[in-house]
Amino acid sequence: MLAFLTRRLLQIVPTIVLVSMLIFGLQQLLPGDPALIMAGEERDPAVLAQIRAQYRLNDPVPVRYLFWAKGVLAGDLGESMRLKSSVASLVEEKLPVTLQLGAMALLFALGIGIPAGIVSAVKKETAWDYAANVFALWGLSTPNFWLGILLIFLFSVTLGWLPASGYVPLGEDWRQSLGTTIMPAFVLGNALAAVLMRHTRGAMLQALGADYVRTARAKGLQEGRVVLKHALRNAMTPVITLGALEFGTLLSGAVLTEQVFTIPGFGKLIVDSVFNRDYAVVQGVVLVTSTIYITLNLLADIAYMLVNPRLRG
């Protein structure tokens, strides 16, 4: 177990380095010139030259990468060309926003997907099952952007129940915070709810057909107890792991949702930074996001190990 953990932890370092190099390289392939955007409409040649010198835009890519990496090792993620504030402070400000949104979306997904999956498996081939399947299909095929706009029109413009956009931090006013994040979290969690529903349904159907369930029923246990205690417990392991892994995907899905609802999180930061070719910010955000993703993967692996002792060898 210890050897496994050490091995996996050691793998993380080169992975992150590789990812950062890849992103740095890919970023340079983006067409357009950051200095041209930075210089504003008038693009005075002297101003352009000054920007290029200040941000080392004339240096070769490997040199710039090494310069950046040296900073990161010293705890400095660089400075935003556009906003003149440090990337670390931007990350610190935006990460909790996206994490809150992601966590709420995950709650929505678990809260809707799993019960719907159970009901659909238990009531197989009834109206409940068909309804749940239609819901899943709808959830998977509805674009976030469209659903977001639709919800804004329904709940903000027509009914006037929820604010159409903006964000209030949890620490500032938790009720308003939930009010601003409830719609985006639902939109973000929607597709995952559908995935979880399909997985739960499959796993439950398999469990419900298993010998131990038949035995439990033969012993005269109540159906509710059979479903929730015996079948569900066994069916849940892969579903929960899937949920944990999908949390990473949720964070990347936040890009569009944050744009629609104007939530000032990671997604919005990265979109704005790409359009403005604010390289330092893009690089910093990607580095942090990939580190989170890699860590989640590690945690999922460890969870598997704990659940399934046969993997510990």
Binding site: P31, E41, E42, R43, K84, L90, S156, W161, P163
Partner: protein, 506 residues
């Protein structure tokens, strides 16, 4: 399942109660983008100027008819030779940190714009050679050569005054906490979320400030911005889409304010920038004339903008005092266009690489142009390109036609010089004509409006009707929608949201 539904419903109803509870204690303005750094010397975005309008007063301002009017300055006088400008300053003005505004402070601000590393203002006021403090309320600018557009520059960021002590202490981080002499002082900024300012008690014109607090919220999507206004989440939004005007007008709780923008949209031709310029459109003015004659500007305006924009054929709008009436908007004439193409020996259809920055409105404009010009024998190959990429490709000459606009400047020089004079940074097509250059220099040195207009007539004679690098198409309307609770809002042609004199009924 019922439990889940019930729980969800309860959650929604409860959330609804929160949403409806927000009180309207301040003015909330929806911006189309997040501004860049809030330092007048280092700022470069249009949207940033909207925020500065409440925080940083300038030496001069413009009125609705684009006359230059005093703000922190009281008057100005230009010497006979045009090389000295004397400015009298307003007494009793304070910066947000309590520091006095006077000639020393004004000198400091102008010198900061001129010398600070990374200053975007330097090219705008580079004509200033030295600044002299005559007395505490008089400033004298000595120019390298006569430069008529200077005063217009001082109506924008170059004329914004920053508090010397605060600016000196903060250095290039001043934009994180700007200290100016405007009606509102900076409170806080959360990047991409909000900028908050509050009423400055010692403002020189404080009797006209009636709203306590303003929050600027950047919301990029225009549909969402409008939805926020309609749901009461915002009080005012800028850059309403022309296609949304109907929705705004139908809503009784909303009002629309508009003004013809200083900017334009045009078709830039690659005249001499690299191998792509090797085509009849670049080489023969008759072909450019034919292209222009194949376009019906009014129909374009009707189709894409519901007739709300203003067709135009020059770098200033027909409402501008510098508009050249001798060169009216030409009527569409397909027969003449075909004849010109024949005369120029062009085999039709003439295929052209047409670069168009990606965006709903511009794409529609491009498609209408494509269909109109096809009737005369042009085949515009639309190439949708992400905006930042298009800037680079334009500079490299990777286009034959480029659909690009300009946000506009108060002085006509700001709309024409950099695009039409040889080797200027925005002259992407590398157009170059010595006579045009000379006429532009004459306009810069001109002492009166009449003299300058006469100089611009010489430019027009050369660059309009196919002679120059740009076919000007239309001038957008600055469209601002706001709640009917807001009183006293006046839209200015520069698109900025001015907050002096506004009242908000509760």
């Amino acid at each position: 399942m019922t439990i889940v539904l019930r729980a969800l419903l309860t959650l929604l109803l409860w959330a609804a109660a929160i949403g409806g509870a927000s009180a309207q204690s301040s003015l909330r303005i929806g911006l189309a983008e997040d501004p860049d750094v809030l330092d007048p010397t280092l700022a470069r975005t249009y949207v940033g100027r909207i925020v500065f309008a409440s925080m940083c007063d300038k030496l001069f301002d413009i009125d609705q008819k684009m006359n230059i009017v005093p703000q922190l300055a009281l008057s100005h006088e230009t010497s006979q030779d045009g090389k000295t400008v004397t400015i009298k300053l307003r007494p009793g003005v304070k910066f947000h940190d309590g520091e006095d505004f006077n000639a020393d402070a004004a000198k400091y601000s102008l010198e900061r714009h001129l010398t600070m590393k990374g200053s975007f203002r330097k090219p705008e006021i580079a004509a200033i050679e030295s600044i002299e403090v005559v007395d505490p309320l008089t400033l004298r600018l000595h120019l390298k050569q006569p430069y008529a557009p200077l005063l217009a520059q001082l109506t924008d960021r170059s004329g914004m005054m920053v508090a010397p002590k605060a600016a000196e202490a903060a250095g290039d981080k001043f934009g994180l906490h700007p200290v100016c002499a405007g009606p509102y002082k900076f409170v806080e900024r959360v990047q991409q979320d909000r900028i908050v300012v509050e009423k400055f008690a010692d403002y020189w014109n404080k009797d006209k400030i009636h709203i306590d607090r303003i929050t600027y919220l950047p919301i990029v999507d225009s549909t969402v911005r409008l939805a926020n206004l309609r749901s009461g989440g915002l009080d005012l939004i800028e850059r309403v889409l022309a296609t949304d005007i109907k929705t705004v007008r139908q809503d009784k709780r909303l009002a629309l304010s508009k003004a013809v923008s200083l900017g334009y949209l045009g078709l830039t031709t690659n005249i001499a920038n690299g191998p792509k310029a090797d085509n009849p459109l670049a080489k023969d003015p008759r072909v450019r004339r034919a292209l222009e004659l194949s376009i019906d500007r009014e129909a374009l305006n009707q189709v894409v903008f519901n007739g709300e924009f203003v067709p135009g054929n020059q770098w200033v709008s027909p409402q501008n005092p510098y508009y050249q009436e001798k060169f009216p908007i030409p009527k569409r004439d397909v027969a003449k266009a075909k004849a010109l193409l024949k005369e120029a020996g062009v085999t039709t259809p003439l295929s052209l690489d047409f670069m168009v920055p990606n965006g709903v409105e511009l794409r529609q404009v491009a498609e209408v142009l494509q269909s109109m010009t096809a009737e005369a024998g042009f085949d515009l190959k639309i190439r949708l390109t992400e905006f930042a990429t298009s800037l680079k490709q334009a500079e490299e000459g990777n286009f034959q036609l480029y659909l690009i606009g300009w946000s506009g400047r108060t002085d006509p020089d700001g709309n024409s010089y950099s695009f039409q004079v040889c080797n200027q940074p925005l002259n992407n097509g590398k157009y170059c004509d010595k006579e045009v250059d000379a006429a532009h220099q004459e306009a810069r040195a001109g002492a009166s409006q009449a003299a300058r207009k006469a100089a611009y007539e010489k430019v027009a004679a050369k660059v309009l009707n196919g002679g120059g690098p740009i076919i000007y198409l239309y001038h957008p309307q600055v469209l601002v929608a706001h709640t009917d609770k807001l009183d006293g809002y006046v839209q200015m042609p520069d698109g900025l949201v001015r907050v002096v004199g506004l009242t908000l009924k509760q």
